[in-house]
Assembly symmetry: C3
Homo-oligomer: 253 residues x 3
């Protein structure tokens, strides 16, 4: 019932095979949608930039959605971004221009991505994450609800330096990352932490301001008694590229 | 002007007497809407689960909205949930499948309920509350803006244990509840607290991590000099079942 | 492509010259829209108050949008508010009744303003700010993402006393303001702070509960070595009334 061909489509829009577009969705000019993509109802894809309202010669920058992506209802994706294959979103996502995402990235309900940021592959943003401009996120990074990436060290100013996050790191619920902090690989930033300084690989950080508590590899598993939980890739595989063979074998593929 | 019969309705939808449905709203299959319910504009009721997009034999689970409910605009309620009478929502609410709510529950603007959770009667969620799966909330519970209920103790993992909250407890603005914490009856979790351990009945908890400050019954009233504010039921009645007779007489009804 | 005259408009709506209204937008009764205003798609302007659903004699209070304003998609503005010239919003903003804003105010994506509040001129609310009722905000105030203004000191109660903020103050990301706190002029409330007491002019406040760290005029500039950053008006001008002449000369205009 979602797909009654009751949508609007701009100029120079490319639709791959087997694309489905929901009712009430609008796709603006110069959007490229690959095979098997589902865009559900009431979305805006290729939302024009601010210039659109005032410049009669405005041209929409190119937007690209990779194959097998699923974009849920009421999401707004500005023109000028690129998403790899198997991209998916929750509802009411807002993604501004110059966002670049690798493959298999997920962006949860109500996330607000301010654009001009780069994400690797298999990044998972849970609900209501706010990513300021000029952020850099590695591969296999999980970001949990109400996390905010900030970028202005002395507000208001013209400085804009976003945080950067290494591969396999986890940013837990409600934590705040201060402008320009560099978080290493395989870190766990605990819930509600305020990260004010750079963080070494494998660090568990807690508190306000966040302090290093231990190496994440010391944290016990709650699932398998006597085992350690981190590196988590040996203990979690759902939706990961090593889902079928396990992380160990996948590494040597 | 909201109700021009410009909505869509699926199969096997039951509408009670005097139901009003706003323009642009879509009601999917197998939704039961009781008497005097108002669903305003641009809502989605009975949103199909993920399987809908891939399974040609998909059947929508049953959704039930109790009598005298009011659902405000742009709200999305997934199929497979049950709401008691006098349910109400703000705008842009998202409620996932397997949510069960008692009567007179209120869910504020932008709330994001991940589903598979149980709420008692007279629960009041203010704006922008996030409830992770497997949460249990008692009766007469108030949850204030930007509170998050988490459920994975060692992210990412396959463990999912939500918090539980006893009757008459209050969870103030911006507090985070860690996975599986059990909060007793009549507690007050202060603004910005991070609750990492179980909490006894009548506790005031503050800080990161939250510590017990005192018994809530020691807190002075700001309205009536020389009185105590808690148990709050003796001092607050708006919208409560004891609104007309007072809590004391209501208890002995 | 946004403006195909596919909108709905109520009674006694005044449209100035050169007003553009996007598809899917609804404007209810008694709304006054000044010259050169752009309201993009799927907005609701003059959303009726609760009484609308039950009172057959309901009359919508007056709503006024100043000239040269830009309201982005999916925003909901309740009836009974006034916005000065050059007002702008992000997407999915919710603004309740009895909100009064001066000129050049900006309200970011997902902001939730509960109404009955007063804002001066040139206030800038970034994404996802929550302003409880009875708040007072001065002029040239910046409020960053996920800030919450609370108003009930002993929840739940019938007391409603919002925070007040002096001119030129900055409320950084994720900070919480407790009910009724008075923040002076030129303050900087740091990210994640929980402000529980009144704050003197020029204070930098950090932590939970927030403590005074220093005078903001002691904070070094990150842009100009050897200089101080605050008062910020000497170092930041984008979008400000002193943009062309500088703050010093503007003061003596």
């Amino acid at each position: 019932m979602k797909f009654n061909n009751d949508y609007k489509i701009g100029k120079n829009v490319t639709l791959g095979k087997n694309v489905r577009i929901g009712d009430g969705t609008v796709i603006y000019d110069n959007v490229e949608i690959s095979d098997n993509v589902i865009i559900t109802n009431n979305c805006i894809i290729g939302e024009p930039l601010n210039d659109y309202y005032t410049n009669s010669k405005y041209t929409n920058p190119k937007t690209s959605i990779g194959k097998n992506s699923l974009i849920r209802s009421h999401s707004i994706i500005y023109a000028g971004s690129t998403f790899g294959p198997y991209f998916s979103t929750g509802h009411r996502v807002t993604i501004r221009e110059k966002t670049r995402m690798g493959e298999h990235c997920r962006v949860g309900t109500l996330c607000d991505l301010q654009g001009d940021s780069v994400f690797g592959d298999y990044c998972s943003l849970h609900s209501n994450v706010h990513i300021g401009q000029k952020s850099k996120i590695g591969n296999y990074v999980f970001i949990f609800p109400y996390v905010v990436f900030t970028n202005d060290p002395t507000p208001p100013s013209e400085i804009c330096i976003g945080p950067s996050i290494g591969d396999y790191s986890l940013i837990a619920t409600g934590s705040l990352l201060m402008p320009g902090v560099k978080i290493g690989d395989q870190c766990l930033i605990g819930a509600g932490a305020v990260v004010t300084k750079d963080v070494d690989d494998y660090s568990l950080m807690l508190g306000t301001p966040a302090k290093r508590i231990c190496d994440v590899r010391e944290i016990d598993s709650r699932e398998k008694r006597g085992n350690k939980h981190y590196p988590w890739m040996y203990n979690f595989k759902r939706g990961m590229p090593w889902e079928k063979v396990g992380y160990k074998r996948w590494l040597t593929r």
